[in-house]
């Protein structure tokens, strides 16, 4: 279990502030780095319990993919839901139809002019995680394959 250092946290916070206007992202949590550049959020007490036990497969919830080399952060569905209304920049409201496409992992065509390569999707009060924006303005949701709705 590798807990994110203060400097790594600072960088993550900076990126999230820059990408989505989030102040002090995940401050109430301990952040743990797991394989594949994945960041998981949990509590101090949970980490203490995990240290007492053997055979720990994981702690907390996966909140973001964090590529330091590229200075980019993709929020998982749960990561965006934990940040909730702290997300105030580059958030794109979707219709039910677009939300369905998003959850199928399909690109969503939408004219947006955020100018950012990263956006977070939202339908009503529900945050849907991050998408990459292509040059031709398509949103590519970063949804894990196991999480996708099958196409009809």
């Amino acid at each position: 279990m590798k807990i994110l250092s203060d400097s790594e946290r600072e960088l993550l916070e900076k990126i999230l502030f820059h990408q989505h206007g989030v102040k002090e992202a995940f401050r109430e949590f301990i952040l743990v780095m797991s394989g594949d550049n994945k960041v998981r959020a949990t509590t101090t007490e949970t980490v203490e319990v995990a240290r007492k036990l053997g055979r720990v497969l994981q702690v907390g919830v996966y909140v973001a993919k964090y590529r330091r080399s590229k200075n980019e952060v993709f929020l998982s569905i749960e990561g965006s839901q934990l940040l909730n209304d702290k997300l105030c920049k580059n958030v794109v409201e979707l219709s039910e139809e677009e939300c369905l496409q998003w959850m199928q992992g399909a690109p969503v065509s939408k004219s947006i002019n955020t100018g950012s390569r990263y956006i977070v999707g939202k339908i009503d009060k529900i945050y849907l995680g991050s998408a990459r924006v292509s040059r031709d303005n398509k949103l590519y949701p970063q949804i894990a394959v196991w999480r996708r709705l099958p196409e009809e």
């Binding site: 036990l53 053997g54 720990v56 994981q58 998982s76 749960e78 839901q81 529900i126 099958p150």
Partner: protein
Amino acid sequence: MIESSMREELKNYLLKIPNLKLDLLIEYWSKPIPESFRVNTLKLPEEYILDRLRRRGLIFKKIPWARYGYILESESELSLTIEHMLGLIYIQGPVSMAPVEALDPKPGEMVLDMCAAPGSKSTQILQLLQGRGVLVANDPVIDRCKALSSNLQRFGGYNVVLTTLDGRAFPKLVGEFFDKILVDAPCSSLGIVSKDWSVVKNWSIHNVIRLSRLQTQLIRAAFDSLKPGGTLVYSTCTLTVEENENVVDNLLRSRRNACVEEARLDGLRYEKGFTEFDNMRFNDELSKTLRIYPYHNSAEGFYIAKIRKCE
């Protein structure tokens, strides 16, 4: 259909169970268990999520014994809804929600789900902890932990550790550590035959006795890992006495400070646990445990025992 694939050995066993209505049991085994779900209040308010489902045309009614639990009354594939994929609802059988309600975890408590995969009851515990305290969700079968991990992720609880220990290892590792423990033990599954008919084909008393030994070791390990004053719930989704009353009786014999308590579950129909069976005689306290047959609630069959570690 089911009756013809049922082995003689199983039929003779079931005929020995007092008050069991075998015809009715077989009838309910042949029917699907109603679709039901819990609303995930860790993510959004209950009414908001229910409103979304209503707008999709879903009709449902409240399950009286389970907070946030609903039975679907309209035709629908819940597993294909956006709400399921987003973790706003969790699909779980109605009676399967009863053991955690009996355990009643409270925010701030240290809780162990000893046999956790695929995670229905772990997510229910996380919901009741409301983000405070810690849940250890444990299962030694790595293949089953994949589903456990996905279900925990979708549900969104962060105060959880997933471990792959043999449940019997806990007392040595942590001592008297947990406020609440759920032992939803591996069992011969006679309460959920409608989900998997092969259960009746493969059932054997030999396997039941093997499971009973493991279950006795698991319940003891759980009891020894409880803080004084802590509570454990032992549950199975099967009907055999060897895997139910006999296991709890073994615990009462070996641990003098184990006290059985009656679980109070609104509107759930059941029969009292047995104090004798065949040539076995059990502690009278066993009548406080719950025997739930599929025909009692038109759903799964379960056995539930609530035990406190007296100080």
